[in-house]
Amino acid sequence: MDIAAGDGRKADAAVVRDALGVGVAVGLSGFAFGVTAAGSGLTLLQTCALSLLVFTGASQFALVGALAAGGNPLTAAAGAFFLGVRNAFYGLRLSQLLALPRAVRPFAAQWVIDETAAVALAQRGLRQVRIGFAVTGLSLYVLWNLTTLLGALGAEAIGDTDAWGLDAAGPAVFLALLAPMLKSGTERAVAGLAVLLGLGLLPVLPAGVPVLAAALAAPVVLWAEGRRQGGREER
């Protein structure tokens, strides 16, 4: 009994340690978001509202980039929204593992993102899954919002953020998020086609629209792959 309780405590501590590691490391990069958003011309309040209310990094960076490029607000929001769609699939997996009462789910939903899903899905047992999700979510939410505020204040103090190379923070963030997803030829084909569409359509379509058009690379490559496999089966 005592030994089991001791093991449980040790397992709990390991989950908390992993969760805090992810929460702190990623939470600090809210600084990059704060600087980028404020440097793109958003006010302090708008920058902080994005981190508090949207709280999914890639969508936030995408929205800020699209607005800075002069995109229509709804087109900009559409790009950010499509990037956030993956969170629905994390939620689907998490809802089975977390087994939350229905009344709690609306409160847990805001924390359903890449990092909480990664930590929670790596745990075994209901207790550890819940601890992993809650500790990652809380530490990340608090730090991400705090560092967003500091970054936005810092950008206002710095003035010309481009002179400091801070306009490269956005693409570097996207690249860092993208890199681990490029697991197979399919992913690379989608990425390559999306780059061609995104750059090729940039001069001819209104700001923000080329990114949405580039999203079509996903169904196009899937369709081509399905056709190729279908052809192979016929032979």
């Binding site: 960076f61 980039g65 607005l67 929204f81 689907l92 805001q110 693409p171 993208l178």
Partner: protein, 102 residues
């Protein structure tokens, strides 16, 4: 004002998709094709965004210091540098190249 509209729509939309995942019955979105598409959609968007924010100046494509910064970030990623370091490398290299008149 239009910035606030964009923030509001994004906030509501992103919260809604998070909640949908937690609320819909398991299996509703588990069709293989839907899952594949959902996994590939961020790949396409992130690749396009990386390219655009590296090369775009308004609606023109340009080569400037950002390319050096993003290339340095790619090297850092290949060396398995942590997230924050990757971003820092991009910023420092871009600022350095720009300071040298690039």
């Amino acid at each position: 004002m239009s910035v606030w509209i964009a923030i509001g729509v994004t906030a509501v939309g992103c919260y809604a998709v998070k909640l949908v995942g937690l609320l819909v019955p398991a299996g509703a979105l588990e069709r293989p094709l839907v899952k594949r598409l959902a996994a590939l959609l961020p790949v396409a968007l992130l690749a396009a965004l990386t390219a655009q924010q590296t090369f775009a100046d308004g609606r023109e494509l340009v080569l400037d210091a950002r390319l050096a910064g993003v290339a340095a970030a790619a090297v850092a990623l290949l060396l398995r540098a942590p997230f924050l370091l990757v971003v820092a490398v991009a910023v420092v290299v871009t600022a350095g190249v720009r300071a040298m008149g690039g």
